[in-house]
Amino acid sequence: MAVIAPRDFRKRMNRRKWEGRAFYVLCLLAITVALAMLAVLLIYIAVKGYSQVNWSFITSFPSRHPDEAGIKSALLGSIYLVIIAGLVSFVLGVGAAVYLEEYAGRNRFAKIAQINIANLAGVPSIVYGILGLEIFVRSLHLGKSLAAGGFTLALLILPIIIIASQEAIRAVPPSIREGGYALGASRWQTVWHLVLPQAFSGILTGVILAVSRAMGETAPLIVIGALTFVPFTPDGPLSRFSALPIQIFNWTSRPQAGFQEAAAAGIIVLLILLLSMNALAVILRNKLENRS
């Protein structure tokens, strides 16, 4: 005997089908809106800026004349910044992740650190800018330099890298560690020879994604005093600098139509860089998944 009478079941069935259908349409709509916005943005930028994107735009310094203006110094600045930020945050982030996953166990300090790392990942980037200004620019006398900018961005992406590295380290099966310990490996040898090599692609994926976030950051660099007009190539870590987002921000605030186009062209270059970095991260992640 069915608990639910067939008549009652059929009555509800139609309504249930409709609900299912409506939910499906709603979800489809959500993804369409998201994608459409992205498409509109990309098309708008591409149409506006594509005529400006050429070799001389990339290899010229900024100029008072929009059609002569280029992004050489800003592009170089951005590249140097993310190299500094990437290296610093990689070393600190992986170190912190190894400590938390392999050494700390369940002690109080580790618990507090863990909660704070999660909180730090949510701190607005401008706050990091203020921190960088106080510590690197003023206290450590680095000035408004590439080093100060790079270190500030490193702090900004550090929590992301720690969390990504922790996940990668946690994904290494415990049986691998046991195998190492059982052969007389010390903790350090187990981590260095067995755990880190296996976690490496995961860590690298996290670092690339984090660095691509750093590359798009504007606010902290404005706070620590990045320049908007740099007619020279940065010649060392203590050199003053500009960066792509700063240059773009500056051009968009100019009244001339030519600078608007230059800004759009700059955005295209920045987007290409970011998308290729994200693609690289995806490729690395797939490689990792295929291997395990």
């Binding site: 099966p173 195998g179 190492g180 310990y181 052969l183 007389g184 490996a185």
Partner: protein, 257 residues
């Protein structure tokens, strides 16, 4: 008899994970150059007892023990003993083959390398693979990944990896539980050969296996809050044909477990 001296002993050994006692007052002698099997139903503390012999339990934060574990007469759990020093004299093979994601050669060479072996590494690797009866299958592809081997081959590779550090004792934690019958037979044959030079302790679920390969058998079980107590220990022939304790008899005749 000179050969029959105990290499590992436990005296009144109890093990706790947090507040739970998982091994209760076990006193046991493991004899040199013999195969000792530890049998018992699931959750009877077999693996935990085995892992006391190479201090693998140290990796579990809430682990604590009372009583003594002696290796060649020396207490393994005195503060002056470094677990890594123990583990290269007492090797371990795990339930599931756990080769490192490295080449076959590097898997075997790992232990000697980290322990500072400075003889001829290639010779040692070859010798170890031969002793583990896998050399003929892998000699032409030492550079390929260990993960490309079958489960049974991986387990023999793990045994070769353990032999490469030339331990005195080999602990095996259900080494055949994830293998098919043919691979299981190969490992059992290997154990018999190895027992000429090594002392072997094997935890197994499989009573036929214990009866086939071991010289001595320890039967553990849980009774109320006395988890992991040693019910009976003796020569395997006697345990399996003429057990002294009725609980042993009930277990080996398949009435529970």
């Amino acid at each position: 008899m000179l050969q029959a001296d105990p290499i590992l002993q436990t005296k009144d050994l109890s093990v706790y994970y947090g507040a739970n006692r998982v091994v209760t007052e076990v006193t046991l002698d493991v004899l040199r150059n013999r195969i000792t099997a530890i049998i018992g139903p699931s959750g009877s503390g077999k693996s935990t007892l085995l892992r006391c012999f190479n201090r693998m339990n140290d990796l579990i934060p809430t682990f604590r023990l009372s009583g003594e574990v002696l290796f060649e007469g020396r207490n393994l759990y005195t503060p002056t003993v470094d677990p890594t020093e123990i583990r290269y004299q007492i090797g371990m093979v795990f339930q599931r083959p756990n080769p490192f994601p490295k080449s076959i050669f590097d898997n075997v060479a790992f232990g000697p390398r980290i322990n500072g072996y400075n003889g001829n590494l290639a010779d040692l690797v070859e010798r170890s693979l031969q002793r583990a009866a896998i050399w003929d299958e892998v000699k032409d592809r030492l550079k390929s990944s260990a993960l490309s081997l079958s489960g049974g081959q991986q387990q023999r590779l793990c045994i070769a990896r353990t032999l490469a550090i030339e331990p005195t004792v080999i602990l095996m934690d259900e080494p055949c539980s994830s293998l098919d019958p043919i691979a299981t037979l190969a490992i059992e044959e290997l154990m018999r050969e190895l027992s000429e030079d090594y002392s072997i302790v094997i935890v197994t679920h499989n009573m036929q296996q214990a009866a086939r390969v071991s010289n001595y058998t320890a039967f553990l079980m849980a009774e109320g809050d006395r988890v992991g107590q040693l019910i009976e220990f003796g020569e395997s022939r006697q345990i399996f044909t003429n057990p002294q304790d009725e609980r042993t008899e009930a277990y080996i005749t398949g009435r529970f477990g």
